[in-house]
Amino acid sequence: MPVSKEILDEIALKQEEYDEIVRRLGREPNSVELGMFGALWSEHCGYKHSKQLLRTFPSESPYLLTAPGQENAGAIDIGDGLSAVIKVESHNHPSAIEPYQGAATGVGGIVRDILAMGARPIALMNSLRFGPLSEQQNRHLFNGVVSGISGYGNCIGVPDIGGEIAFAPSYSGNPLVNALCLGIVRSNEMVRAIASTPGNILLLAGAETGRDGIHGASGLASRTFEEDIELRPTVQVGNPFMEKILIEACLEVVKANLLEGLQDLGAAGLTSSIVEATTKGGTGFKLDVALVPRRESGMSPYEIMLSESQERMLLIVSPENVTTVTNIMEKWDIPCTAIGEVTGDGIARIFEGSNPVGAVPGGMLTHPPIYEVFGDKPNSIAELQNYDLKSLPTPADAPYDILLKLLASPNITSKEFVYRQYDHQVQTNTVLPPGTADAAVVRIKGSDKGLALSSDCNGRIGYLDPFVGGALAVAEACRNVSCTGATPVAITDCLNFGNPEKPDVAYQMVESVRGMVEACNSLNVPVVSGNVSLYNETKGTVIYPTPVVCALGLIDDVNKAVSSGFRNEGDSVFLLGSDVVSADVNYLAGSEYLEIVHGLVAGQPSIDLGLEVKLQSCCRSLVENQVVNSAHDCSEGGLAVALAESSIIGNLGFSGSIGNRDHWAPSLFGEQPSRVVVSVSKDKTHQFKDICYVSNTPFVWLGTVTSGEFSISGIIDGSLSEISSAWKTGLSIALGE
C-alpha cells in the first residue's frame, strides 16, 4: 500500500527515502517496519547529513581504545589500568518543549551511555544556550532546564562539575541543552554494545515501557518547529531513582563479568539499541513484544518498539548467566526480563506472541542514505565581516563603567546561582569545583592523577566566521584544560546547527567542522565521541552555529592543578601569548563589548593556531614546574574581564598598566584569542621567563596582585568589592530574583 504523506511526516521520512526502503526490501514495509526505518533513518540516529563531515575528524591516538562512532562513548587509556569514558549529547528539542523533563532526561541519557561501557559515571557537565533573559519565555526555559538538571543529577550521586551558559537572541525558543558525562572503568572490564553470539539472551532491565517519547528521535529531534503542534507527548519523563539503582546493579553485573554486551535504550528505544548491537556483531535477533513489561495496557508492537521510556538497559547474556544476572537485578529491586535472543541470520524479527509483526535485515536499518551537504557563504555574513570597526564611535560610558556592565552581563557573570543548585562534590573527588578555574578538575582516587574538563563554544564568533568559530571552540576548550596544568587527551563534541538542507546552514556546518579538524590536528587531540543536533530553528530563526567542544585533560599530579584566582598579594601578573597588549581594533570582532556597548555583532574574527599550540604547552610546563600561582584565559570580555575574574575568584585585587591609553577599548575588551593571564611569585620570575623563552611563547608584564584595589593606570580606578558585586549578582538581576 502506498503510504500517505501524513505518515511519512510523522516519522520525518521523505518520499524518496520511502521509495528507497521499498526498493531495498523488494516490497512495502508494514507499519512496524516503517516505524523502525523512520527511527533509525532519522537524522538523530542515522546522521544522514553529518556522517560525511564526522569522518573528517582526527581519531588517531595511541590512547584511544574505541573506534569512532562504534560505541556509546569514547574511551581513553589514562594509565594504571584505567580508562576514561566520555561523551556529550544534545537534548535541545525536548527541552524546548518541556524544559524540566527535557533537561533531566538529557542527563539520564548521557549517564546511561557511559554506563553502557561498564564505566562508573564520575562527573557531569552541561553546556547551555538560551535567548535573552529579558524575555519571560526564556526565563521559563532557563529555570526549567536548571531545575531539571538539578533534580535528576543530584539524585543519582554524580557530581555536576560545571560547564557553560551563554545567551543570544538566536536561541530564543530553541535553547541548547547539551549534557556531558565522564566515567571511569578498569580497562579490562570495559563492555561493548555488541551481540555477536547467536543463542545469547536479550534481557531488558529497568523501568517499564510506556507510551512516552514515541517519535522522539524521528519526529522531534529531526525537524524544525515551524508550527505550534502539540509535541509534549514526544518528551520522556525521568525517574532518577531508577537510574541510580540501575547504575549500581549494572556495575555489579559488569564486575562479575557476566555480560557479552551492554547497551542503553535511548533515542528510538528498543529498535535502535537491539538493531545496533546485533548489526555490529554481525547477527540478528528475534524479539517478542508481548514479553516487554509495560506500564500501560493496549500498547501496539509499533509503540513498544519505538517507546523512548527512560531508565532501561539492554543486557546481552549467555543462557547460563541469565539467572545470576537476574538475581543481581532482583537484589536492587529492578525488573529484568528476557525479551528475545540473538540469532545468526542477520534479520531483525519482531513477534507479538507467536505472530510475526515485522522482519527486516538489520543492516538495511543501520545504513540510511547519506547526504552530502553543500553550502554557500551568505552575502550577509561577508558584509558583517567587512564592517569597519575603526568607524565605531567613542562610547559615552567610562571604561570602568563598561567593565562593570560586562562583568554583570549574563554571558560573563558568575554562574554560582546555577551551579550551587547542582551537587558538585559528591564522590569527594572535586579538586577544582565550578567557579574556581578555567576547567573543573577531579582526582582519581588511588593515584595522584586528575582529570580536567572544559566545554566551550562562542556562537557569535561562529556566526561571523564558522571556520574560526570551530577552531576557536577546540582551542579554547583545550586552553582551559591546559590552564589547570592538564594535557588535553580527547575531545567530545556536540554539533548544534539549523536545517542542513539550507545552503547557509550547510556552509556553517562544513566550515565549523573544517575549523575544528584543523585545530584538533594542530593541538594533536582526537575526537573520540559526540553527537549532532540539527534543525535547531524556530519559526525561521536559525541558531548561531554552535559546535560545542568538550576537552578532557589528564594531569599526572593533581596536587599541582592551578585555579584561575590570584593567590598572593605582591605576585607579578603577566599576559602570556602576546608581547604587547594589542590595541588593534579588529580584535573587537564578535566581542561581548561590541554587542553590549554598540549593539553590534560584526567584524572578522581570527585565530593563530601555531601560537595557540605554543601557548598551551607553555601553560602546562609552568604548572608542572609550579611556577604560576594562577592561570586564566582571556575569552569573552577580553583582558580587563580576565584580570577582574582572577581578582574576584582569588579575593584579591590588581594594579598595573596596559600601555596604550588612547585606544583602551580594544586593549581592555578585545577578544584576541590565545592569551592567558598568569600570576607568579616574585622569586620565580626568572624561572617563569626561562620557561616562556624555551617554549617560544611571548609574554608581557601587566602589574601586581594587590589586596583590594583594582586599577589599570590612568584608565580604571576601581575596587575589588565593586567588581565583585557586579560579577556575583549579574545573573540574579537578569533573572529578576
Partner: protein
C-alpha cells in the same frame, strides 16, 4: 574502631563515608544493606546522604520502614553511636530517633555550597575534639534541609545542649544571612537526649582532605573514634 555504613537503594554518600573513615582516618568499615535485620560487631553506624528510595514522597519517609531500621533502633536504644548525615538525618527524624523534621529549603532550591558552622556543644561524643564555640567549614548539599520543630521541642533542645551545630557567618554570627535553608535558629545538627544519636545536614565526609577543600570534618569522625573505648 569499626563503622557500619548503611546503604539504602538511592544512597550515594556511602562510598564517600567509607573512603573518609577507612582511607583517611584508618578505621575499619563495612556496608550494611537495607535488608539486614542484624547489626553485629559495629561500634558506630553511619546513615549517609542520598535519596533513599528516590525520596519522591517525603525525604526518609520510605526508608523508615526498611528492615534495617528496626535493627538501627535497637542499636541506638542499646546506646550504640549513630550519626545521620543529610538524608541520614532526615531518616533519623522520620524514624523518631531524633525530634523535628526537615522540610524544603526556604528558597525552594537545592543548595550545594560551603557553610560555616558554630559548634554549640563540644561536650558530645561527636564534638569532643573541638573547642566550645569553635567555627568549622563544612559543605551542604540538599534540597530539604530546613529544620523545623515546635517551640517546645526547640526549647528542650536548647536547654539540654542538644543543638550541636548552627550555621553562622565566617566570624561566627548566627544570622539570617548565614542560614542557607531557613532552619529554625540556624540549626544544622542535633543530638538525642541520651547523646548517642546525632543528625546533621552538612557533610563532614566531604571535608576530610585538604585536596578537596578542607579537613574540618575530621573533628567529628575523630571525636566519635575517641568516644569508643
Amino acid at each position: 574502631m569499626r563503622f557500619g555504613i548503611v546503604v539504602f537503594p538511592g544512597t550515594w554518600s556511602d562510598t564517600d563515608c567509607y573512603h573518609a573513615v577507612t582511607e583517611v582516618l584508618n578505621q575499619d568499615a563495612q556496608y550494611i544493606w537495607h535488608q539486614e535485620s542484624n547489626i553485629r560487631d559495629i561500634d558506630c553506624l553511619v546513615l549517609p546522604g542520598g535519596f533513599s528510595y528516590g525520596d519522591y514522597l517525603r525525604t526518609g519517609a520510605i526508608a523508615r520502614f526498611s528492615p534495617v531500621m528496626s535493627a538501627i533502633k535497637k542499636f541506638a536504644n542499646d546506646g550504640g553511636l549513630v550519626i545521620g548525615i543529610c538524608n541520614g538525618f532526615q531518616i533519623l527524624c522520620e524514624a523518631q530517633l531524633l525530634p523535628g523534621v526537615l522540610i524544603r529549603n526556604d528558597d525552594l532550591r537545592f543548595r550545594c555550597e560551603w557553610t560555616n558552622l558554630k559548634i554549640e556543644n563540644n561536650g558530645t561524643k561527636f564534638t569532643s575534639r573541638a573547642s566550645q564555640k569553635e567555627l568549622i567549614k563544612v559543605p551542604i548539599s540538599h534540597g530539604e534541609g530546613n529544620y523545623y520543630a515546635d517551640s517546645k521541642t526547640i526549647d528542650t533542645l536548647n536547654n539540654n545542649g542538644q543543638v550541636v551545630f548552627r550555621y553562622c557567618s565566617p566570624s561566627g554570627q548566627i544570622d539570617a544571612e548565614s542560614n542557607p535553608n531557613g532552619s529554625i535558629e540556624n540549626i544544622a545538627g542535633i543530638v538525642n537526649d541520651q547523646g548517642n544519636v546525632m543528625g546533621m545536614m552538612p557533610h563532614p565526609e566531604r571535608c576530610c582532605e585538604e585536596i578537596i577543600g578542607g579537613t574540618d570534618g575530621r573533628i567529628i569522625f575523630e571525636s566519635m573514634i575517641d568516644s569508643v573505648p
